[in-house]
Structures are given as C-alpha cells and as structure tokens.
Amino acid sequence: MTTIDLPLPGARTGTELIPAVDEGVTQTAKEFTSDQEVRWCPGCGDYAVLKAVQGFLPDLGLRRENIVFVSGIGCSSRFPYYLDTYGMHSIHGRAPSIATGIATAREDLSVWVVTGDGDALSIGGNHLIHALRRNVNMTILLFNNRIYGLTKGQYSPTSEVGKVTKSTPVGSVDHPFNPVSLALGAEASFVARTIDSDRKHLTAVLAAAAAHRGTSFVEIYQNCPIFNDGAFDAIKGMGDHKGEKDYAVIPLDHGQPITFGVRDEAGLGDKALVRSASGHIEVVDTADISTDQILVHDAHDPDPSTAFAISRLTAADYLNRSPIGIFRQVERPTYDDQARAQVSDAVAKVTGTAEDRLTALINAGDTWTIA
C-alpha cells in the first residue's frame, strides 16, 4: 500500500475562515435567543449553560448566520431550539456525524455539537470517538449529568457502579466511562472539563474551545435536580458537602504547577500532583515536597499520557475529586481542512466549464460512433 505525504494547511484558529460581524457592530445575547420557550425542569443545570453560551456567542464576533448548533437526543439536545442560529436537533447519538458533514462541506461555519452522556457515550459512542480521531473543526459540548433524564431516570454510561435507578433497583453493575479519558484515548486535540455553575470558567473554556482548530471536546458537569440531584455537590461545595470544593476540584492551568486544597499566600494549595518514581501521577501534601517537584501542567504536550494520567484522578464513584480545566490542546491537521484542500487542489488543476469536463469524462475510454 502506498502512502502520500499530504501538504498541511498552515496553522489556523478555529474561527479564522468564518465571516465576522462588520466592524463596529456588537451583538447581544438577546439576538442569539430564539423565540421558543425553554422547557427544561426548574433548576436544571442546562439553563446555566444556555445562559453562558448565549452570553458568550456575541463575544465570539462571528456572524450569527454562520453558526450552526447540532444536537442528538436527550434533555440537553433541545439546546439548538433556544438559540437564534442555524440548528438541527437530530437523532440519538448521531450529531457528531451530521456535524462532520456540515463542517466538512463548509469552511465558513462555526459548528457546535450539544450532546449528553447517554447520547455521546452510549448510543453515539462510535461517532464521538471517530469525530475526535478525525479532528473535524467543531466543538462538542458534552453535558454530563450521569443519568438518563429524558427517559426518566435510568443509569447512564457515566453513572457510578452500585447506583440505584429505575432500571437498576438493586444497584448498577455497569462500569462507567470517564469521558475525558475516553476523549484522550481517541487522540482528541482539545479536551477540557468545566462545570455548569461556574460561568466564568465555563465561558473561558468555551472561548478556548472555539479558538482551537480541530475537534474541541468539552465535558460539562451538569446537575439534573430531578433524577440525579447533587451529583456534583462536592465539586460545587454545596448541600452536605459545603467546604469540600477546594479538595474536590483540581484546577488545571497551562504552565502552572498543579495544586489544590487550601491555598497559601503564593497561591499554592496544600495538595499537589507529582510524578512518582514509577512514573505515575500522585497526590501528595505540598508541605512534604519541594515546589520544583510539583507537576507543571502542559496542555500542549504532544504525548497525551500525562493528561490521561491526570484524568484518571477523577473519582469514579461519588464525585469528590476531579481535575477541571483544559487537559490537552495540541495542533493536529484537521480532517475537514485536508479534505477540502484535496478538492480545491483538484478543482484548481482543471480548466474549462464543468459541462465540458463532464462531457469529456463520460466520453473517455473506448468509444465508437454510429452515424
């Protein structure tokens, strides 16, 4: 088999080829809000994310008509109806494939996928990993509430083992996915995790995701007050878990030593990540080590193994510890850029009208004429 070294399109940002609003024009969140009544349950985490996105999109500075939101099926997948952009509420699990078609067909569109833990990781698992592998220029927002909401409360592929739900009355025996680990394993070029209630962090991650060229994968911890209330209470320092937040959240900032817990004057937490002698990533007391031993977060490391190791620190059962932030952000050629380049290069090489070239094509080879 032959392989060909493909020409690589130069480095680009995620939004570079998308028409921006005219200079001096500012858009508002209201312009991005559709006239449809929002129909999530009261208190649903989806509201906060919707508000954050409606607030963030005007700042992106792109023309509204060049933004497309695609979703699958599930509570969060109603998202596109509430944004006054182009949108498609598609079928269960398939949004990444539909978005792949849109993003490959058109370089001038900002493409967003809104999906959930059931939609993306269960029925649509195959499309998710292949979108990440291909690195198509789009942003995938995975709302993880660790439950099936729309179908009224069955366990999901991110629910903890032992979880009692309608379909698991004596406890789930299903081992859950860690979405970030999965994305890293699929060689995603941008992987982040954020929280519905932390609008500032959420907005910052969205901005970085949109700016990234390739598939940006963002896991959003989203509370479902109806069927899985309090799933993220430790992370949020809420309910019975007030005050636990500092130890539950491991903040990731590129170029910064990774510490958490109670912070000193220099901003270092009393817990830190270090690489152990065996090469693993471990949590230690900051007091027990010298500061230069603390693992410095490198989101741009081409090797995903450290990011993967950090992702494994996420507690699998009750979520009382989780790294939050951008795990990985690396440059990698995108499928859509390369696919379009192959087409445009081929188009550039030919002359004459399409009709004439088609006539030549179908008349090629052995022909004979009867008068």
Binding site: G87, T100, G101, I362, W368
Partner: protein, 663 residues
Amino acid sequence: MLREVDRDVSQTKQVKQLDRVIIRFAGDSGDGMQLTGDRFTQESAVFGNDLVTLPNFPAEIRAPQGTLPGVSSFQIHFADHDILTAGDRPDVLVAMNPAALKANLGDLPKGAAIIVDTADFTKRNLDKAGYDTNPLDQLGEVNDPLADFQVHPVDLTGITVEAVKEWGLSRKDASRAKNMFALGLLSWMYGRPTEPTVKFLEKKFSKVPDILGANLAAFKAGWNFGETTETFVVQYEIKPAKMNAGTYRNITGNLALSYGLVAAGVRSGLPVFLGSYPITPASDILHELSRHKSFGVTTLQAEDEIAGVGAAIGASFAGHLGVTTTSGPGIALKGEAIGLAVMTELPLVVINVQRGGPSTGLPTKTEQSDLLQAMYGRNGEAPIPIVAPQSPGDCFAAAVEAARIAVTYRTPVMLLSDGYLANGSEPWAIPSIDDLPAIDPNFATAPNHTSKKSADGEPDEFWPYLRNEETLARPWAIPGTAGLEHRIGGLEKGEGHGNISYDSVNHDRMVRIRQEKIKRIADSLPPLEIDDPSGEAKVLVIGWGSTYGPIGAACRRVRRAGYNVAQVHLRHLNPFPNDLGAILKSYDKVLVPEMNLGQLSKMLRAEYLVDAIGYNHVYGLPLKAAELAEAVGALVGEAEGKGVDLGEHGLNPPADHEEAPLS
C-alpha cells in the same frame, strides 16, 4: 519451413456467419476471468456488436483454489442485433480447471463448445472438484460424460509458459498469463479487434516491462494458436449491430451511476457530498466518486453506515447534494437517519445496490428484495420516492432523476440498483449534457412570512415549513444566509412555522402533507411507455429494475412464436405514475416477474386492486428469458382461451438460447 505449413493450415479455415454468441469464461477466482471477460467485452463493443455481460464471482476474495465455491465466471452475449440479456445458456464455455467445468456444465445446451485447459486437470484439482475420473480421458468413449458437447482440450498453461519464455518469468508467474492466451484465442475465433487489448495491457503494465511482454506474448500466441493449428477449423463472424446513431461506450452500472451523480452535481450546481461505508456491491461507487474531486465532489468514508448517511444529511443541510451509497444491510442501519431526512425535508440521494438477503445473505449475488424495505423500512408514516434503473447504462439517467426529485421536492430519494446492474455492462449511448434535466436548488434567500410585527407589510420572518403550493416542497435555506436562521429536527413540526408541535390535529395534517408531497411527484413524470406492438395483447408483463432485459427478451420470444403480449417497465416505484392504474386495468391478466417473492405485485394489488400474478425467482442470478417466456405463454393461453406452444422460442428443443432478431 514451419511458416509454410502454417499458411497451409490457415487456408483450410472456414468462416461462418452467426447472429449472436454467448461465451462464458470460467476459472478460479485468481485466474483473471473477470479481466478476460472485460477485455473481450471491450473488443466486442469497439467492434460494434450489441452486448450484455454478466459477471458472477464468489464473495471471498480468494476462495480456496480449485474448489467449486472458488469458481469465478464472466458471461458475455454479443450479437449483430439489439439484445436485452446476457443469455440463458452459453454457446461456448472456457473452463480453466475441473471445478470451472463442473460448476458450469449444467448451464450448457447440447452441442455447446467447451475449451478446457488440460494442464489444470491434475489428480489434485480433479479431487477438489469432486471428479473421480478425469472426464477428458473419456472423450469419445462410450461413457464420455461430455459426449453432448464439442470439447477442445488445449494445454493453455503449457503453451502460454512456452510462449512467454523469453521474459524469464517463473513458471508460476508465466502461467498467470494464460488468461491472455485464452483471450487471444477467443479473439481470433470471433474476429475481435486486438488493438484495444494491446493498448490496455501497455497502459496497465507500463511499469513492469517483463509482465507486459509476457501478457502481450501470451495474447498473440493465443491468436496465432487459433489461426495456425488444426485444433480450431472455424472462425465466426458476428457483424456489427445496427444501433441508433450516437457515440457509444461500454459501461457497468456502478460506473454509470457514479457518472450520473457527478452529472447531477454539474446540472444542479451543487457540490456532491458522498458519505459512505464500504459494502459489496456498492463500494465501486465510493471508489469512483473519490476520483472526481475536480468536479467539487467530496467523499467521506465514514465510521459506519449511520455516520455515512448522517454526514450526507449534514452536508445537505449545509447546501450540498448529500448522497449515501450502500447495499441492503446498510439501508437497515440508515433507516432512522432517512426518517430524519423525511422529517427535516432535506434533499438526500440514498443508493441501495441490492444483493441477496436477508442479513448478510449473498453479498456478490443479485436480488430485488429490498423494494418493500425502501417503501416501508422506517418508523412512522415516512414515505420516500423510489426510482430504479433498468439496465447498467440506465443507472446514469436514474441517478440524475433521483437527484432531480430529491432537490426539487426536498426529500430523501431511494435509488434501487442491484448486483447485476452494478457489475453487468452494456453499450451505452453517451448522452449530451444539455439533454439532461435541469435541477434547480432554488435556495431561499429572503424572509417568506409576514408577522404582525412587520412595519411595512413585507415578509419579515422565515418560516422553514411554508411550502411551494404546487410541489409542496419547503424552502431550503442554508447556513450563511442572514435573516433565515432556523432550527429543524426530528420532532414533529408545526405547519408553516416549523416549530416543535405536539398538537394532534397538526400531526395528522403534517403526516398527510408529507404523503401528498411525495404523491405529487407523479405530476412531473412522463407517461409510461407501453410496448404492445400488435395493440391486441390481453396479457401485460410489468416489472421494475434489472429484470427489464429478461422480461423484454421473454416478450420477444412469445411474439416470435406468434402470440401477443404487452410490456411496461417501471422507473418510478413511489409514487407510481399517474397512468399506471388505467393501464393495468386495460389488460385481462397482469404478470409481475421479480427477483423476490412478490414485492411489486403486492404493491400493485394494494394500490390498484388488480390480480397481479407473481413470477418469482431468487437464485441470485438474473431471470432466465426462456423460462419466463413459458410462463408468459401459459398466461397468454389462459387469457385467450387457447393452447399456446412457444416451440423453439421457449424451452422446447431445439431451444432458441437467446433472442433472435425480431424481423
């Protein structure tokens, strides 16, 4: 000295005129029979015969060598007149090994010629094919199992190896050129032009001079063997066929279909976007379209069948001509997504190159058993138009027609090809691009609805489900169009505005509107062509898809035997043409031959309450014309209340193996 003897021999050759011949090349999957058949076909096409071909090969890429399941064959029927099928029974069988002989013998009529490669009739190969004794050892004896045939044993391998000696190949490599020897021999026998094959080999092997040299030497040696030895004394002449004026080429269905899709892109001005997952026998369309990027064609080999159609739907939403290609099992997987395209009313061309089913079924064999799947294989009331090509070359026009309907009516369209059309070939009158239907995407560019808020009474809103009154098509507004931002999806739409609606009255209405939209496509169809030369037929034979050839050939047989019969062939299966009901009712009896257990006949009965009688075979092969003619004849007898005897035009000996000229 030798040369003089040669000349003497060649002078003893006679030339016989024939109006048609059916040849089957058969050998091991690795023997290059498809290539040999293909080359012979090109030579015959260039010579100007009408022709139809039928490749038949195992699903395994390299089935166990020398065994019956490993036999691959290629049949060509060529004639000096217009023909419709690849023929029921070969006049000539070229068998490269014992398995090829055994597997194909049953299809031969008495008196057929058999050319066998004696080199491959070893004990081992005879065992593998299940022969206790070598049938070639018994030629001419009392118990000769091949006594009914004219057998020509030739050491094809031995002579080939000798002929290519100067190229210094191993015996194994040298013997691989034996298919070219066989081609050369048959080319001599039927007076085929050799130039196209020489050119073809020069191009194919331009980088490997020794292989090129060996193949050319073998090809020429085959020709010379026919001309100079005494083994063959007769050369045949089949004059070029009288065909309508035009430029022709030989084409397979999959290639014609691919070109049709490119043409649809050119005619609509839409970039073609193919999302596809490899599957037999549809993959060739993916391969072919991936070569036409210069026409703006994008091909995406998806992770699975669902992603293939998903990407195509996404591309359609973005303003491309979304296409997905597959075979029956793939359609089963795409069903939900096709339903989404029904609901979102986006143009989408879905191509099903049907194969034997159910499940994995017979991947390399042909069948027409996905018609009801195309009609009803989705949840809910989800009607989609269905078009079917009737011959390999017709796949081009059918693809353009599918795209015309998809774009004009904003709907997924199913095109039902099949394994026979995909790989079979025929001369194709190359159309002029200007004669193809124009396809107008007619994108929405401005608001279409006036709200109460409108200051000037001009439209100020975009309603994605406000329809064209005539076609009921909805507007297609693509991203990037300012002011037309809208959301679509799989949930039921409110009429007009297109917002989610769970209203029961609205749902009833929308279900009916979607149905009515598909029904109205019939208003854009030309009247059906009725082939009823006498105008007095009481029996109508109606079919769809690739059975056109066998049905046409069967009807000709019946007419040659002196009886009347009418033929209608359907390109559109949904909606049916407006005049179909009246046509069906104007005949006493309606026969529906299909390669399934009666799917079109069920639809006709349901729609028109006619007593459609099925004629159904699922052998994985095209229907046989003579057998079908007998069935047609029997029905004519019933309808006209008289005895019908088709004589030699049916199955009675001396059977007429193929369609003779009508006049």
